[in-house]
């Protein structure tokens, strides 16, 4: 049982290591092979056009934090969908209505956020 489980995830591990090596190798290859000559004109933001003034970081208004909170809540809902999807066919209708009810309750939260104008981008 445990051996089977590991066998599944070793493929994931190998894919992850290969992916990291591929991206890292491409970046390293670029770093090693490409000629570099720094000049003032190259480090300008725009080749032609106005010079940008001020810092690149801007402060975002506090209300957009709620977007992140909404994402977090619905991410937690998504986590519950995984065990649900596995047993959905076995349990049948009851599981369907359970999840529907669960989503309706969270949907009410989304509706509340919408009515309160949280979702409007001002």
């Amino acid at each position: 049982m445990i051996q089977d489980l590991f066998a599944d995830y070793i493929a994931v591990l190998i894919a992850a290591i290969l992916g990291i090596l591929l991206v890292g190798g491409a970046l390293m290859g670029n770093y090693i092979l490409a000629p570099r000559q720094a000049s003032r004109a190259k480090s300008l933001t725009y080749e032609c056009g106005m010079l940008p003034i001020g810092r690149s970081r801007t402060q975002v208004h506090f209300r957009y934090y709620l977007f992140a909170i909404l994402f977090l809540i619905f991410d937690i809902e998504a986590v519950f969908l995984f065990p649900w999807a596995v047993v959905f066919l076995d349990i049948g209708k009851a599981a369907f209505y359970e999840m529907l009810f669960f989503m309706l309750i969270l949907g009410f939260g989304l509706l509340y956020a919408w009515k309160k104008g949280v979702l409007s981008w001002r």
Binding site: F6, R57, F62, P83, V86, G109, Y112, V118
Partner: protein, 165 residues
């Protein structure tokens, strides 16, 4: 050394590297990215313990949503990308507190008597967990959605109150 041990040491090394990156990099955004690395490596530890659901939770909620929350906070606050912002006169106190905690945890680890033999992990299959969640514990599951709803509405009320609307 069995291959599980090899994987464990690999994952543990990645976790420690990520955690060191969080505290050692000067740029707070890089710290957040290192935090993602550390959290994903902890998901690997969960998989080694055959806790698949925990690994999913770790990747989706901690690696995804919570780090996004942290990055959002960085966008919202007036953090400048100056290294001085991370340093302050509290530094010696922070070092003292961290050192004391390290000594305490090392002492605790040395003085506790660990069970000598390793035991076989009882794997809870994903299917069994889903059955338990949706058949036997359906009502607590629905209550969980109410808890999430309360958290959501609470966050909205607090944020709206701050705006003074």
């Amino acid at each position: 050394m069995s291959y599980e041990e090899v994987i464990f040491y690999f994952v543990a090394a990645v976790t420690v590297l990520g955690a060191l990156g969080v505290v050692l990099t000067r740029n707070v955004v890089h710290s957040a990215l290192f935090l993602i690395l550390a959290l994903l490596a902890v998901a690997g530890v969960f998989i080694l313990l055959s806790a698949e659901f925990l690994a999913i939770v770790q990747i989706l909620i901690y690696g995804g949503a919570v780090t996004i929350l942290i990055l959002f906070v960085m966008m919202l606050t007036r953090v400048r990308d100056m290294p001085q912002a991370l340093d302050g006169p509290q530094r010696p106190f922070a070092a003292l507190a961290a050192g004391a905690f390290l000594v305490l945890s090392v002492l605790a680890a040395l003085s506790s008597d660990w069970p000598g033999e390793t035991r076989e992990i009882t794997v809870v299959p994903f299917r069994e967990m889903g059955e338990a969640l949706f058949r036997d514990w359906a009502v607590p599951f629905e209550v969980a959605s109410l808890v999430l709803l309360v958290a959501l509405i609470g966050a909205i009320v607090l944020a709206r109150g701050e705006e003074g609307e």
